[in-house]
């Protein structure tokens, strides 16, 4: 049974744990960085190993397939150039109208590509680590997205990497707007521990009329996410709190389960 040395070990480990838990946030962040950086050599090794099969596959890809791919990309590039031209014209027109109405000017987005290097090993959080950090200009609360939609926001920054808290984590709440005639505003919350393709849209007014397929975008309220970033689409909705509020499930645009690269949006 328990002997004196068992109590001594228990006391020492408990003391160490309590000491770590009671450290100030800044010291904890530094300690996390120090311990986490021990894993960085392995991380880059794993990235190289992951890249190796792709490189081999690229080398053995038939020339015909490569030519087809180049042709497809050239067509897509031309289409995007035409779209960009159109958008420039629309942008100029928008700017002129804003000048006439003396509205505030919108700041163009600056984005940087980041690789997802790690995921949270604990099942009760939904976070990822990316390979952009303070040295690349990343700060807390910057929005993170993919071409399909919003992913989350930066929650912790270290010199060479950052932690991103994903939509669906209890620490990432997003003010969202439904693209319907009433432009209903709600808050995107976690939907469930298992399904990371869905999220809940809560705090909608009881009179909100939502239809499946309606687009949900960021509302711009709260000053964390700029207005208009796509989040997902309405799946279904129901009235809660005796009809005083409406809740909806939304299918997220971005596939949070298979993120490999994300864009960090700088302001």
């Amino acid at each position: 049974m328990f002997k004196q040395k068992h109590f001594l070990a228990l006391g020492a480990v408990t003391l160490a744990a309590l000491l770590l838990l009671s450290l100030p946030a800044r010291v904890t962040a530094r300690l996390k960085l120090a311990v986490g950086s021990l894993f960085m050599p392995l991380s880059s090794l794993a990235a190289t190993a992951e890249q190796l099969p792709a490189d081999v596959a690229d080398n053995v890809l038939p020339r015909r397939e490569l030519l087809q791919e180049i042709g497809r990309l050239q067509r897509e590039n031309q289409e995007l150039k035409v779209q960009a031209l159109q958008n420039t014209t629309i942008g100029l027109e928008n700017e002129q109208l804003r000048n006439q109405l003396r509205w505030q000017h919108t700041v163009p987005w600056k984005i940087k590509l980041a690789n997802v290097v790690m995921r949270d090993p604990a099942n009760w959080w939904r976070t990822i680590e990316i390979d952009l950090g303070r040295e690349q200009g990343v700060t807390n609360n910057l929005p993170v997205l993919t071409s399909e939609g919003l992913v989350g926001r930066v929650s912790a920054v270290w010199p060479t990497h950052s932690q991103v808290v994903l939509i669906g984590d209890p620490n990432c709440r997003v003010s969202a707007l439904v693209n319907n005639p009433a432009q209903d505003v709600g808050v995107v919350n976690a939907a469930g521990a298992l399904d990371n393709t869905l999220a809940n849209l809560t705090y909608l007014s009881g009179s909100a009329v939502l239809k499946p397929g309606q687009e949900v975008v960021t509302s711009g309220l709260g000053n964390v996410f700029p207005k208009g970033l796509p989040i997902g689409r309405i799946v279904d909705s129901q009235q809660v709190e005796f009809g005083l509020a409406t809740e909806a499930r939304i299918k997220l645009g971005a596939n949070l389960g298979s993120l490999e690269q994300v864009w960090v949006l700088f302001r």
Binding site: L10, L20, T28
Partner: protein, 183 residues
């Protein structure tokens, strides 16, 4: 347990934590990531001393918390208490039986995440928990239970292959041999 084996356990803990963070594992198929630290803790508690057990709990817990959004140090106590409970009862456990290893591994894999979650809830952290978390817990228990006999087999093999065995002298002494009959 030999010193090279305990070093291998620490290396395995380091790699396990890294693997859990960087590899999808069962997350994409079963919706939960399996934690291998409880299985390593069971092996250490069965074979090593209290100091090694404490070091594994502290290093493994720190590594796990550093790569997750957990508060740093929250995983140390659940790991250590699980290891200590097994350590104090290890003389009563049939440690060489794979079934016993399976059951103890399942128990440890159930207790460690439960302890982590309870500690964080009592600290007021908002966690992603609902009925689906029970499924994740079941996957973690099953994964840990299966991993424990594997951990035992791998480290026992490592010990056999790379460990020095003490040379035990035979009790037979030729000068004390009773010779029968006439020579």
């Amino acid at each position: 347990m030999s010193s090279q084996n305990i070093i291998m356990v620490y290396v395995a803990a380091f790699l396990a934590v890294f693997g859990e963070a960087s590899l999808p594992g069962l997350r994409t198929t079963l919706g939960a990531q399996v934690d291998l630290l409880p299985a390593l803790m069971v092996y250490t508690a069965m074979h090593a001393g209290l100091a090694n057990l404490s070091v594994l709990a502290v290093l493994g817990g720190l590594g796990f918390d550093a790569l997750s959004a957990n508060p740093l140090g929250i995983s140390i106590l659940p790991l250590f208490l699980t290891g200590l409970a097994i350590f104090t009862q290890r003389d009563l456990i049939l440690r060489d039986l794979p079934f016993a290893q399976f059951v103890i591994g399942a128990g440890a894999s159930a207790v460690v995440p439960l302890g982590q979650v309870l500690m964080m809830l009592s600290a007021g952290k908002p966690l992603l928990l609902d009925w689906g978390s029970l499924w994740q817990w079941a996957v973690m228990i099953a994964g840990g239970a299966i991993a424990t006999p594997v951990v035992f087999a791998v480290f026992n093999w490592f010990d056999r292959v790379f460990g020095y065995k003490l040379h035990t002298e035979s009790s037979f002494r030729p000068d004390r041999e009773i010779r029968r009959g006439r020579s």
